[in-house]
C-alpha cells in the first residue's frame, strides 16, 4: 500500500514536470512576448530593459527553474497586462468557476444518474432507448451552441433568465446546463453500464434468491455498489469542468478562470496563460491522485486484486 502511494505520487510529479515544461517551452517558442509588450516605436535598448526587468534575458532552464520554484511557493509570476501577480488574479476568479463547476456537476448527476438507472433496470425497453438517445445527443450537441440556443429561448424569447454575468442563481442556470449537458451523457453511460454489471452479479442474484423486494434489491444492494464509480467520475468531472469551461464562460460572460485564460490569450499575456494552464494541470493531476489513493483504501474489491 505504502509503495503504491509513493509510486503514484512520484508519477504525478513526473506528469506535472512534463506538462509544465511543455507549456513553458511552447510559450517561449512561439514568439517574443517583449516585442508585443513594448510599443511599436520602442528602441532596442528599451526592449532589452523590459527583457531584463521580466527576467526574460536569462537562459530557458534558469527561467524554468525560477518559475517552478515560485510556483511551489504559490507564486505564478506577474501578469504582463494587469501588472498583478497571476495567483492573485487566479484566486479572485476561482470561486466563480467552482460555483459553475458545482452547479454543472449537479445538473449532470440529476440527469445522468436517474436516466442511467432507469435504462439499466429496464434494459432493452423503450425507456432504455430514450436514455440512449439522451446519451447520444449529449455527445453530439456542442455545449457552446446549446448555450447560445438557451440564451435565444430563455433570455431573448421568454425573457426568463439573464443572458450573462454572475449574480444570483438565475445567472448560473444556463451556463451550468450548457456545461453539464455533455457530462450528463457520460454520467448516464457510466451509470447504465455500472448498474448493468452489478445487476448481473452473483450477489444480486443471491439477494433476489433471498426473496427481497425488488426495491430493496435495486435501491440498496445494487445502487450502492454501482454508484461508487459514478461518484468518482463526478468528482473528476467537476474538476475538469472548473477548468474546461472556457467557451461557456466566454458566451455567458461568466467571470471565471476560463474567461481569464481567454483574456490572457488575446492580450498575449504569457505569464497569465502559462499560470492558468499549469494550475488546471495541477488540479486535474491532484484529483486523479486523490481518487486513486482513496479507491485503494475504500474499495475492498480493488484492495483484493492489488
Amino acid at each position: 500500500m505504502a509503495r503504491f502511494i509513493v509510486r503514484r505520487v512520484l508519477y504525478s510529479f513526473v506528469t506535472l514536470f512534463i506538462l509544465s515544461a511543455t507549456i513553458f517551452l511552447i510559450v517561449r517558442l512561439t514568439g517574443d512576448p517583449v516585442a508585443l509588450m513594448a510599443e511599436a516605436s520602442a528602441r532596442p535598448e528599451d526592449l532589452e530593459r523590459i527583457r531584463h526587468q521580466w527576467g526574460l534575458d536569462r537562459s530557458w532552464p534558469v527561467q524554468y527553474v525560477t518559475f517552478m520554484e515560485n510556483a511551489f511557493k504559490g507564486e505564478l509570476g506577474k501578469s504582463f497586462n494587469y501588472r498583478l501577480p497571476v495567483s492573485q488574479l487566479y484566486f479572485q476568479r476561482l470561486p466563480n468557476s467552482l460555483t459553475l463547476g458545482l452547479a454543472a456537476t449537479l445538473i449532470s448527476l440529476l440527469i445522468g444518474i436517474p436516466a442511467g438507472i432507469i435504462s439499466a433496470v429496464k434494459v432493452n425497453t423503450a425507456w432504455d432507448n430514450v436514455a440512449k438517445g439522451i446519451a447520444l445527443l449529449g455527445l453530439s450537441i456542442p455545449g457552446f451552441w446549446l448555450g447560445l440556443v438557451l440564451i435565444l429561448v430563455f433570455s431573448v424569447w421568454l425573457r426568463w433568465l439573464p443572458t450573462s454575468g454572475a449574480g444570483d442563481w438565475r445567472h448560473v442556470v444556463m451556463p451550468a446546463v450548457a456545461l453539464g449537458w455533455y457530462f450528463a451523457a457520460s454520467m448516464l453511460r457510466l451509470t447504465r453500464s455500472s448498474m448493468l454489471e452489478v445487476l448481473g452479479s452473483e450477489y444480486i442474484k443471491l439477494a433476489r434468491l433471498k426473496g427481497l423486494p425488488d426495491f430493496v434489491v435495486i435501491a440498496m444492494h445494487a445502487f450502492k455498489n454501482a454508484l461508487i464509480p459514478v461518484f468518482t467520475l463526478a468528482g473528476v468531472n467537476m474538476v475538469v469542468m472548473v477548468n474546461a469551461a472556457v467557451i461557456i464562460e466566454v458566451i455567458f460572460a461568466w467571470p471565471g478562470i476560463g474567461r481569464l485564460l481567454y483574456e490572457g490569450i488575446f492580450q498575449r499575456d504569457f505569464p497569465l496563460v502559462q499560470g492558468v494552464v499549469i494550475m488546471a494541470g495541477f488540479m486535474i493531476v491532484a484529483i486523479n491522485l486523490v481518487v486513486d489513493i482513496l479507491y485503494a483504501f475504500i474499495d475492498p474489491r480493488i484492495r483484493l486484486t492489488r
Binding site: S201, E202, Y203, K205, L206, A207, R208, L209, K210, G211, L212, P213, V216, H221, K224, N225, P300, R301, R303, L304
Partner: protein
C-alpha cells in the same frame, strides 16, 4: 408421506432472437424429494442443472420461460405463482446457495446485514431478536466468535468462511428445502470436506431437504440419498446412490463413473469422447448417441422413453428395452 417437492414434466425454454430460436434448456424433468432427503443432480455444464434449480424458485433469465410441467412444493404449485407470491417462498421456504462464495456476498454490506436480511424481511425480526438470530446462525455454521465477526465485511474473511456465511444466509429464513448449486467448486479439498460435513450436520439438525447440484460424483456418494443424472435438458437416469454406483444402467452414467479416478487403480481414466451437445441444435434421437459406445441403430432416430426398473430407478436408454420387456 407426501414429498416436500415434486417436479413433474418441467420444461424451461430459452427464447432468443425474438423467439426465432428456442433452446430447450430443461425438457421434461421429473423428480421428487422427501423430507430431509438429499437428491444429487449430476451432469456436465450446460446439461440444464442450474436452469432446473432456478425454474423451481421461478427466478429465470429474461429470455427463459417455463413452458410446461408442475413444481409442487409442500402442496403449493410454484409455476402458477406470481413473482410477489414467489418472493415469499424464496429465502424463506426454499433457499438457494450459489456456486461462488467470493461473488455471492455483497462487498459493501456487513456479514450481519446480509445474514439478517431473510429473517428481517420474512420473519419481521428486529433489534435484539435479530442479533441473537444472526449469532445463532453463524454459530450453526461454525463461525468462531460470531458477535465479532458479524461486523466484518466479506473481504475480511477466508473463502471457506465466506462459503459458510452463504450457508448461514440459506438457513436464515428457516427453509424446508435448500438448493445448493455446486457450492464447493471454488474451495480447496480440505475446506470442501469440512464444509460437506457441516452441511450434513446441519441437515441432521434441521431436517431440511437438499438438492445438491454438482459434477463431482465423489461428493454425490458422500452426501446424497438419490441421484439424478442430467444430459441435454433431460434426466437420463435416476436411482438411489447405492443402485447407481453399483449398477449404472445408462451408458452415459457408466462413462461418468468411469471417469472418477479410483485410488490405487491402474486402469486408465475413461473420459467421454466428444463434446457435450449444443443445446441449440441437438442431434435427432437420443442426444447422447453420437458419443455413446453402445449405441444401437434406432438410437440415432428415436429418443428413448423413461424405462422404470422397479426399486424406483428410472433410465432413458434403448438398451433397457429388452431388459424391461423380457421378464
Amino acid at each position: 408421506m407426501a414429498p416436500v417437492l415434486e417436479v413433474s414434466g418441467l420444461q424451461t425454454h430459452f427464447f432468443t432472437f425474438g423467439g426465432a430460436r428456442v433452446v430447450k434448456a430443461v425438457d421434461g424433468v421429473s423428480f421428487s424429494l422427501g423430507d430431509g432427503e438429499t437428491l444429487g443432480l449430476v451432469g456436465e455444464s450446460g446439461s440444464g442443472k442450474t436452469t432446473t434449480c432456478l425454474s423451481i424458485v421461478g427466478l429465470l433469465p429474461r429470455a427463459a420461460r417455463i413452458v410446461g410441467g408442475r413444481v409442487l412444493f409442500e402442496g403449493d404449485e410454484l409455476t402458477r405463482m406470481s413473482q410477489r407470491e414467489l418472493r415469499r417462498v424464496r429465502g424463506r421456504r426454499i433457499a438457494v446457495m450459489l456456486q461462488d462464495p467470493m461473488a455471492s456476498l455483497n462487498p459493501l454490506f456487513t456479514i450481519f446485514r446480509q445474514v439478517a436480511e431473510p429473517a428481517f424481511f420474512h420473519q419481521q425480526m428486529r433489534g435484539r431478536t435479530l442479533r441473537a438470530r444472526v449469532q445463532q446462525l453463524l454459530k450453526a455454521v461454525r463461525i468462531p466468535s460470531p458477535e465479532w465477526r458479524m461486523r466484518d465485511y466479506p473481504h475480511q474473511m477466508s473463502g471457506g468462511m465466506r462459503q459458510r456465511i452463504v450457508g448461514a444466509i440459506a438457513l436464515a429464513g428457516g427453509p424446508k428445502l435448500v438448493i445448493a448449486d455446486e457450492p464447493t467448486t471454488n474451495l480447496d479439498v480440505t475446506i470442501q470436506a469440512q464444509y460437506l460435513d457441516l452441511l450434513k450436520d446441519i441437515q441432521r439438525e434441521t431436517g431440511v431437504a437438499l438438492i445438491f447440484v454438482t459434477h463431482n460424483l465423489g461428493i454425490v456418494a458422500k452426501m446424497c440419498d438419490r441421484v439424478a443424472v442430467m444430459y441435454a435438458g433431460k434426466i437420463i437416469e435416476q436411482a438411489s446412490v447405492r443402485e447407481l454406483f453399483d449398477d449404472p444402467k445408462h451408458p452415459y452414467t457408466r462413462a461418468l463413473l468411469g471417469s472418477v479416478p479410483k485410488l490405487g487403480s491402474k486402469e486408465p481414466l475413461y473420459s467421454i469422447a466428444g463434446q457435450p451437445p449444443n443445446p441449440a441444435s441437438l442431434p435427432p434421437g437420443c442426444p447422447f448417441h453420437p458419443r455413446c459406445r453402445e449405441a444401437l441403430p434406432r438410437c440415432a432416430s428415436v429418443d428413448p422413453p423413461d424405462f422404470h426398473l422397479g426399486d424406483g430407478s428410472v433410465a432413458r436408454c434403448w438398451l433397457l428395452d429388452d431388459a424391461v420387456a423380457r421378464p
